[in-house]
């Protein structure tokens, strides 16, 4: 086969495999649970990145398989043709890959600003991480709890701190992770969209009890939340 | 055509080495080593700038006092002078003026030695220590690392001076001397940065 023919077959194989792969990927849900606005943005990012990864992976796969099948050495000891990269090919490669990066970057920046940018909130909880448990302080209401309760469909502001080691507040279903750093409070914003109870984990090694440093986050309606808060207040100050 | 064996880059005893190339390699090696040392001080300075910029006042808490400028200022003059005398020693060596070479080398050691003595006195009378929060930590770590480099530098200068005294240093055999001079100038430049940031600014 002539070089041109080889190139055509290889490019076709790449195009077909990539198309199939992208088609399979779009519409997938990659994150196991999506219970917040932020988690939804993140899942979209996952899907986009996976879709973009497919043609990249297929390029290498086709390179591997095609060369192993068609460019094996014959019984003679002849060398291959001394081909070199044309400047056009090099320029094209550089331009395409750089544009892909820029595209991903722009998309990621929008997502980042949406998730992390300073925003208004209607509900605030202080999260106090310590070796080895979580404490959620509802200071305005005058009590602390060991479970996080937040209202659904409202932007919640979490202020996170620690006095001992570095911990990390991870709410997997809500797509939130932020370290708790001694010496400076950090913050996160979350807008939960699904009612339910989800895991709270510590995501930064903090010593012996890192494994057991878990809790729950309960996303409830405003009414349920009010009732729970009232209950907690009464228990705190009899 | 193969290259002349005598000009080959031999590091084995029986192969002749071109002394100019060997000198060139050594000096390049020393310069690269200094790059690495610059990065070490870079990390220490970075730490200083970060903690200082995060503190509303300096020293934080307002209890400690920043050291006065007299002694460190004097030290700056001493160290800069010692770099001058070091360079004069180099030039004297190249001019094959043995007497002056020795004189300037001894002067460099003396000036550097007085620098260290004054610094130790300053440390003793500063009124704060290593364990006094970030202020003490950054101050003493930076000046301490620098002082250690000065000490090593003085030792190196003393070694080369001793070799010079025994006749092993001359106009075409001064690689070690020149290497040490690079190191010494570097130590001086670091001090200038130290003086400006730790004491003045």
């Amino acid at each position: 086969m002539s070089p041109g023919r080889h190139a055509l077959v290889a490019v076709l194989a790449w195009a077909v495999l990539s198309a199939i792969g992208v088609f399979l990927v779009l519409g997938m849900q990659i994150m196991p649970q999506i219970a917040s606005h932020e988690a939804e943005i993140e899942n979209n990012a996952f899907v986009l990145l996976t879709a973009v990864s497919v043609p990249v992976l297929m390029f290498v796969v086709v390179g591997i398989v095609y060369s192993a099948l068609y460019f094996r050495a014959g019984p003679d000891t002849a060398d291959g043709p001394p081909t070199q990269a044309s400047s056009r090919l090099q320029a094209a490669w550089l331009i395409v890959t750089t544009l892909m990066v820029i595209g991903l970057f722009v998309y990621g920046t929008f997502g980042l600003i949406e998730i992390r940018g300073a925003q208004e909130s209607t509900f605030e909880v202080e999260v106090h991480a310590k070796q080895w448990s979580w404490e959620f302080d509802y200071d305005d209401a005058g009590f602390a709890a060991n479970e996080l309760h937040i209202p659904v469909d409202q932007r919640v502001h979490l202020i996170i701190n620690s006095n001992d080691a570095i911990h990390s507040l991870w709410l997997p279903a809500l797509g939130i992770k932020q370290d708790a750093v001694p010496g400076r409070p950090t913050e996160a914003y979350v807008t939960a969209t699904q009612l339910g109870t989800y895991n709270v984990l510590c995501a930064e090694l903090c010593g012996f009890g890192h494994t057991i440093m878990t809790s729950s986050v309960v996303v409830s309606t405003q009414a349920e939340l009010d009732a729970w808060m009232q209950q907690q207040q009464e228990a705190a100050s009899p | 055509m193969t290259s002349d064996v005598t000009a080959s880059h031999g590091t084995l005893g029986h192969v002749e080495e071109d002394p100019a190339e060997a000198r060139d390699r050594m000096l390049l090696g020393v310069k690269l080593g200094i790059v690495s040392e610059v990065m070490l001080f870079g990390a220490l300075f970075a730490a200083y700038f970060v903690v200082r910029s995060e503190s509303p006042d300096w020293p934080p808490g307002g209890e400690l006092e920043r050291p006065e400028l007299l002694l460190p200022g004097l030290n700056t003059l001493l160290l800069v002078s010692s770099s001058v005398t070091m360079q004069l020693a180099i030039w004297a060596t190249r001019a094959s003026d043995r007497a002056r070479m020795m004189r300037w080398l001894y002067s460099t050691i003396v000036l550097g030695g007085i620098f260290l003595l004054i610094q130790m006195y300053e440390f003793a009378t500063n009124g704060f220590g290593l364990a006094d929060g970030v202020f003490g930590s950054t101050f003493y770590t930076l000046t301490g690392f620098h002082g250690a480099h000065v000490l090593v530098g003085l030792l190196l200068i003393a070694i080369v001076t001793n070799r010079a005294r025994r006749g092993y240093v001359s106009a075409d055999r001064e690689t070690a001397l020149e290497s040490v001079s690079y190191y010494w100038h570097f130590v001086d430049v670091v001090w200038l940065f130290l003086f400006s940031t730790l004491y003045v600014l």
Binding site: F71, D79, G80, P81, P182, H210 | V50, R165
Partner: protein, 622 residues
Amino acid sequence: MMRSAPVQAVWRPGFTRAIVGGALGFAIGGGAMAVLGVLGVGVKPGHILGVGYLGTLFGFLLGIGAFRFWLTWMIGREIDADEEHESHGKAGDWKRYFRFTTDHKVIGVQYLVTAFLLFFTAGMAAMFMRFELAQPGVATDKDLYNIIMSTHGAMMITVALISVIGGLGNYLVPIMVGTRDMAFPKANALSYWLLPIPLLFVAINPLLGGFDSGWTAYPPLSQQANLGQQAYLMAFVTIGASSILSAVNFLVTVFRMRAPGMSLMRMPIFVWALTVTATLVLIATSVVAGAMTMLLFDRLIGTSFFRVKGGGDVILFQHLFWFYSHPAVYIMAVPGLGAILEIVPVFARKPLFAYPLAVFSFIAIGVLSFMVWAHHMFVSGMATFFHIPIMFTTELISVPTGLVFFSAIGTLWMGRIRFKVPMLWVYGFLWAFVIGGITGVFLADVPTDITLSDSYFVVAHFHYTIIGSTIYGLFAGTYFWFPKITGRMYSERLGRLHFWWFTIAFNLTFLPMFWLGIQGMRRRVADYPADLGGVNLFVSIMAVNIALSVAVFAFNMIRSWRGKRVAMADNPWDAQTLEWICTSPPPIENFAHIPTVTSAPYEYGTPPMSAPPVPAGGRPQP
């Protein structure tokens, strides 16, 4: 009066004297501190360990004779030329591998063997980890798990940092550029001998209480932790010093000692890769040495760099640590990439595709590597605005990294590929490194990183990238250059067995970890949710297979090296870099006559091809 052999061994510079020196050094250093403590000075166990460690290190180095030349020079005595000359050792004398030998080929083998031994040890630690992780719940002890995990990390990082550049690089670079040794042979030997003591302390750190912080050693946890943490920090700084010394050697050798005719753009791509790597080592390593020193000071002498109470900043450590440690992963990867790109043309029988662009890609990777460190800190509480440029530079680094694939696959294209064992590893690299690279983009993108940070996705990513580049490059290079170094040929059959077994096991071990990470399995913990037990058991079983395949490799190497000598051509691969015009193994002085170079070593497919291939990198010996 004749001294008996053991007594001679203690008096003569060498390994025995080094061990004695090390032990004495520890006794003197640690003892002095202990005495001070008894006298009432506030001495902590850490001080005893610290000064004891320094004593051990210097005692060992004095014992092996590392400072003999310099000390003689310093007190103003003349050097004995014959003794100098003997320092490169005698060919065939196995004892020179246990001495302060200045021949770069000996040092290269020392590094290579040490790296492999460390690799096996760290692999055993991984077996313990996978045993624990085979089932949910904590079967052994969760703190012991973290200690072993941290030791596994510390050792493997060291292997990745020193194996290709220290082992293959030291052996090959002087020969590849056409000279007789490195620029500073004694410093080269010192670089190697700086390693045994810190590696010993890393290996025994569990006995000192271990450290559970992982190799990243973040304070405040690392300030609270016990002596094992300190052993690790001191070892890290020492290994860093060894690397910096080695980097200076590489750079001066490459820039000042190339054979006539070898312009920079005629250098083998492997040499370019190591040059970039050495530059990264030179610039970045001191920064982490500074960070580790500050941490040691916080632990031992009361400073407050990272202590909140004293006004210190915990995140400062992360910035300083990662400013080195991100370039560090390229220090690990780039030598492997260089080895791979060096090997592809030989077995594809084609010039390296886009060689200048490949050179550019290594330089670009090196430069960009200094601008991305904070992507390890996206959830650290760092200012949000800073995430944006870091996300950009991190994603951008995939462009030069992609060029490596462009070059490799372009070389394969229309080639006449011979699938010898080194080439199999090249193919394995292509698959593993593209997976590693793609998954890196998921971590570079902040929205996805929020879920993935500190999860098993990260573990899978870095194993794919580092094993893909460093370990595949190391295996490819070891097989490829085995005939040159030993003068013998390894077993192709065992080599193929090793490759397939390793590759299948490695992929089946780490591919599921991407999924596990997305499902929420955290890293650095001995336990995980019960529903992930089945996959973890599978992963553990596959991991054992990795170890078994590596045992095949070790057996192949030892048997092939020690076995009967079979006639073999000096250049069994018909390769064109300069080491292939030497005998196998090369003589001590590498070349009888320094060759003159007329082209880059990639003249495959260029006529004439009638006679036995004349290596275009050099001329046949007269």
